[in-house]
């Protein structure tokens, strides 16, 4: 379990890594990263909806799909309005790669073992995204509307982190 949590944190730490510290993230890149981070959580939740056995875990996964789809819809509406094309970048690529590895890893688990591993990863993933939003994405965003959407995104991710912690506590 700790190894999994470590891996999730390590992947998102890339956001603050030295490679990125040299070049400031642009708004099109930030939009792409934020959208990717939401999509990753939606994919994880969709897997959980097919594999989870615990009722609370399933309900949590449903909440994740609903909220992250709503945030991502807002993000798409905003980039359209601002005439910005989200730009793929190394951080987005690293996040996606790590996420598909995690999906494969969780895919091998079943029953209570899956539930525990999924929820533990949700706690770690939301925590890592919170810190990336706070220390990197929000400070780097230039457009005020993008910044404000990221700030709402941060509150959503923080809320989900606490919700996931609550669900995790119930599984013990």
């Amino acid at each position: 379990m700790f190894a999994q949590v470590g891996a999730a944190i390590a992947a998102v730490m890339l956001l603050g890594g030295p490679a990125l510290a040299e070049s400031k993230l642009t708004d099109p890149q930030i939009a792409h990263i934020a959208y990717t981070a939401g999509n990753i959580d939606i994919a994880a939740a969709k897997q959980a909806l097919t594999k989870a056995s615990n009722k609370e875990v399933k309900a949590f996964a449903q909440d994740m799909v609903r909220d992250h789809e709503a945030v991502n819809k807002q993000a798409l509406d905003l980039v359209k309005k601002l005439n910005v094309t989200p730009e793929d970048n190394d951080t987005s690529k690293a996040l996606s790669k790590q996420a598909s590895e995690k999906l494969a890893e969780l895919g091998k688990l079943n029953g209570a073992a899956f539930d525990k591993a999924y929820v533990a990863n949700e706690v770690a993933y939301h925590k890592a995204v919170d810190s990336a939003l706070e220390t990197k994405l929000i400070p780097s965003a230039s457009n005020a509307e993008l910044k404000s959407l990221l700030q709402t995104g941060l509150k959503i991710f923080q809320g989900h982190e606490q919700h996931a912690e609550h669900v995790a506590a119930g599984l013990k």
Partner: protein, 110 residues
């Protein structure tokens, strides 16, 4: 229309329970960008709380002591008539970082 409906509910309630006054108040509490405001509100038994959710996310107003658990869908307003006195901490089950408090006085409005 909202006012008319409220009047009807209040009317029905005062027939049902004489303890509920005709002058019960409506207190509006807004949920926007995952913030509840006002975070602290005072009310009396029989008053109506009107939670206005301005977000695109569903929220709940869930009392820690179990007194109420109200779901407020995205972009909707949900009302709830206070039944019990007490100081009630409540939060959103979906986003537990949303927290607020209601001080409910047992003596209904005169």
């Amino acid at each position: 229309m909202q006012r008319g409906r409220f009047g009807l509910i209040a009317g029905v309630l005062s027939l049902a329970a004489t303890a509920v006054p005709a002058h019960a108040a409506t207190i509006t509490i807004v949920m926007e960008n995952l913030v509840v405001s006002p975070a602290e509100a005072t009310a009396k038994v029989g008053d109506t709380i009107e939670w206005v959710n301005k977000d695109v996310f569903a929220h709940t107003a869930t009392a820690r002591n179990g007194d109420f658990d109200v779901m407020i869908p995205p972009k909707q307003t949900v009302t709830y008539v206070l039944k019990k006195a007490g100081t009630v901490d409540y939060y959103c089950r979906f986003h537990p970082n949303m927290k607020a408090m209601l001080k409910i006085d047992g003596k209904p409005s005169p």
